[in-house]
């Protein structure tokens, strides 16, 4: 298990290193790097990691898929890998076979609702859907008047898409479904609801943020050992060292929170309060780390890091952008606070200590 986990992650890591080098991407104004990268990822079966073999995927474990997302975060790749993985996973929940090509999930925010009409068509509007413009298919989670959830495979061409960009410059679109007939629709398994999808997406984003922070730490340390000011490497100034130590702390906190949550979900037998705590805590803490850690990385880089030519923004802006997907940290903090209050003061420590 541990060994195969490494093989999947190593494959991903190698493809990114070969085809998603930040420097190359940054110089390529036209985005020509995307096609060969996506092709290589697809050839390796990575976008459909979480789809069982009998549903057209490569049947990797949840843990293996999560390690792919960490690697994707370290390279801050802007292709719909996480989105297609999530979509494939969602479809697989209802035993729907995944088609090839780019996919994304709808909705991508806990506030948006897609409804199943009486005639089996879908209606609703979802904001901030990552890569909707690029995706050939959507995996949609919708509910009917009775509140039963269904999973649907929808042809992206049948929906209205208003394009938008997130902070990192990646597609983040508004998707409107106006009585769209899905390609396939099946009931979601018992107990599966929108919170479950949002938390899975949130953990994916947490791993990506943590990965981006690892890279920010890495390039900031390297830069501080190269840049000379006042006749010294800036890494020799105590103030700079302390900033980097804080960045290491934020990076470590994000990594710990995200990997703990991924582990919790990969091994969960039921979706209880403990798993909820792990997932939302990761999203909240990683978002905080993106803000604090990203700020320090920029400080250490000085003006050069503020230029479009430098690679820092690939990591810092994406980490900031990823905070907003699948529920922001403020949204989840309110939900977590309500849960804690509902359980009562004397149940708080038992909850925290349960893992």
């Amino acid at each position: 298990m541990a060994e195969s986990e490494n093989i999947v992650a190593e494959t991903a890591e190698k493809i990114f290193a070969d085809l998603a080098d930040a420097q190359t991407i940054n110089r390529d104004q036209k985005g020509e790097w995307k096609a060969p990268l996506w092709q290589a990822l697809s050839d390796a079966g990575l976008p459909l990691s979480w789809v069982p073999e009998n549903c057209g995927g490569s049947g990797a474990s949840l843990a293996e898929g999560f390690s792919v997302l960490s690697a994707a975060g370290r390279f801050a790749v802007a292709v719909p890998l996480a989105e297609t993985m999530l979509a494939g996973w969602l479809l697989a929940q209802a035993k729907i076979t995944s088609p090839g090509g780019e996919m994304t999930v709808v909705p991508a925010s806990p506030k948006d609702r897609i409804t199943v009409n009486a005639d089996g068509s879908l209606s609703g509007r979802a904001r901030g859907v990552p890569f909707a413009k690029v995706a050939k298919h959507f995996a949609v989670l919708a509910s009917n008047a009775k509140g039963d959830f269904a999973v649907a495979l929808v042809d992206g061409g049948k929906c209205r898409i208003e394009t938008g960009l997130n902070l990192g410059g990646d597609p983040s679109d508004v998707v409107t479904l106006d009585k769209v007939q899905p390609v396939t629709i099946k009931p979601a398994p018992t107990g599966f609801d929108q919170a479950r999808l949002m938390l899975m997406g949130g953990v994916a984003r947490s791993l990506q943020i943590a990965g981006a922070l690892e890279s920010m730490l890495d390039i900031s340390v390297r830069y501080s050992n190269e840049r000379v000011a006042f006749e010294k490497k800036i890494s020799k100034f105590q103030a700079v060292q302390h900033n980097l130590a804080r960045l290491a702390g934020e990076s470590a906190a994000a990594l710990a929170a995200a990997t703990s949550a991924a582990d919790a979900i990969a091994n969960a037998t039921s979706f209880n309060d403990e798993v909820f705590l792990e997932a939302v805590a990761a999203k909240i803490r990683c978002a905080e780390a993106a803000e604090k850690g990203g700020g320090i990385a920029h400080q250490v880089h000085g003006a050069i890091g503020f230029t479009i030519e430098h690679i820092l923004h690939r990591y810092s802006l994406r980490a900031l952008a990823w905070r907003d997907d699948f529920g922001s940290e403020s949204f989840w903090a309110v939900e977590l606070g309500k849960l804690v209050a509902r359980r009562g003061a004397d149940e708080l420590w038992p909850l925290v200590a349960s893992r």
Binding site: Q241, A252, S260, V334
Partner: protein, 386 residues
Amino acid sequence: MTAALRFDPIRLPSECEQLRKEVRAFLAEEIAAGTFDPHKPNREDTDVPEFSRKVGARGWLGMTWPKKYGGHERSFLERYVVTEEMRVANAPTRRFFVADRQSGPVLLKYAPEHIKMEILPRICRGEICFAIGMSEPNSGSDLFAAKTRATKTDGGYLINGTKIWTSSAHIADYMIAIFRTSPPTKENRRHGLTQFLVKMKQPGIQVNPIGQITGQYEFNEVVFTDHFIPDDHVLGEIDGAWKQATSELAYERSGPERFLETYYVLTELVRAVGNNPDTRSAEGIGRLVAQVHTMRRMSVSVAGMLQAGKEPVVEASIVKDIGTIWEQQLPHRVRELAAFVEETATNRETLEKQLDFAIKTAPKLTIQGGTTEVLRGIIARGLGLR
């Protein structure tokens, strides 16, 4: 990658859950019997000898040490559970905690056999209290500036000088201290310090209490005047204490006591807010819970590394750095949220008293056990910057 920081998601094994139940049941009994009040972190009676002995009798001291010294050969993760449950309950651990966490492991590593046989079982029984003699009036962060001298004499050493900020020295039976046995060398300014086991309440040792801004007395000045220490009380290598001191740090720095010292105000806030909080309170509580959960996951992860025989010095320093800053900010965040608590909250008075005390406690949290600045220096070294 420059820094391969890893915090694996270590899970506490099932024996820990059984143990946790036992500790909770024990603490509930002690609270019911009036041994301590979990709602009064500011109580005066933080030294409760009977409580220590009961904890020892349960087998919760020296948990990871060899059986032949009275230990229990259990795991660091089991010890972790006992520590965090005691801390969250505000149990009076003052008498035994330093010995269990730090002094015992030093003796295990560096003391001669007959001293181990004599002292370790007594620590395990909760009978004796230890103090740590590192800081001096002109040597805090710069540990290696210590001046208190140990001069060789017949059969031992004579000690002269002053230690300061020595927690629990007034109740301690022993202190593990560093003294200067020779001057630093040109090549190595850390050279020349030696670790000693000091028997307190002996001639030539005077303990002067120092009050703290919380109104409590916990630390002291300790003055040595021609105090005699026999040869067999030298711990480890003469002049080589600097090598020994660093490996001690991972134990001192990453435990649950490093982020839970003001935790009680969070529980009390949740109580005051009730089961239907407004949005602002809910968000505030949610963030704090997410943060403490993350801290704890990191801390458990370091305990797992210790269990695996590693020396996670950088990771432990990171946990202490962000842990102590968290516990320092916590009372202030709770205070902000407490402004919205209903006047009628049944625990309002308790919350206010706890906040007062926690806010007074907060300034020390980033100083004791190594300041934030010093820790960041250690982390920077780990990152390859120094």
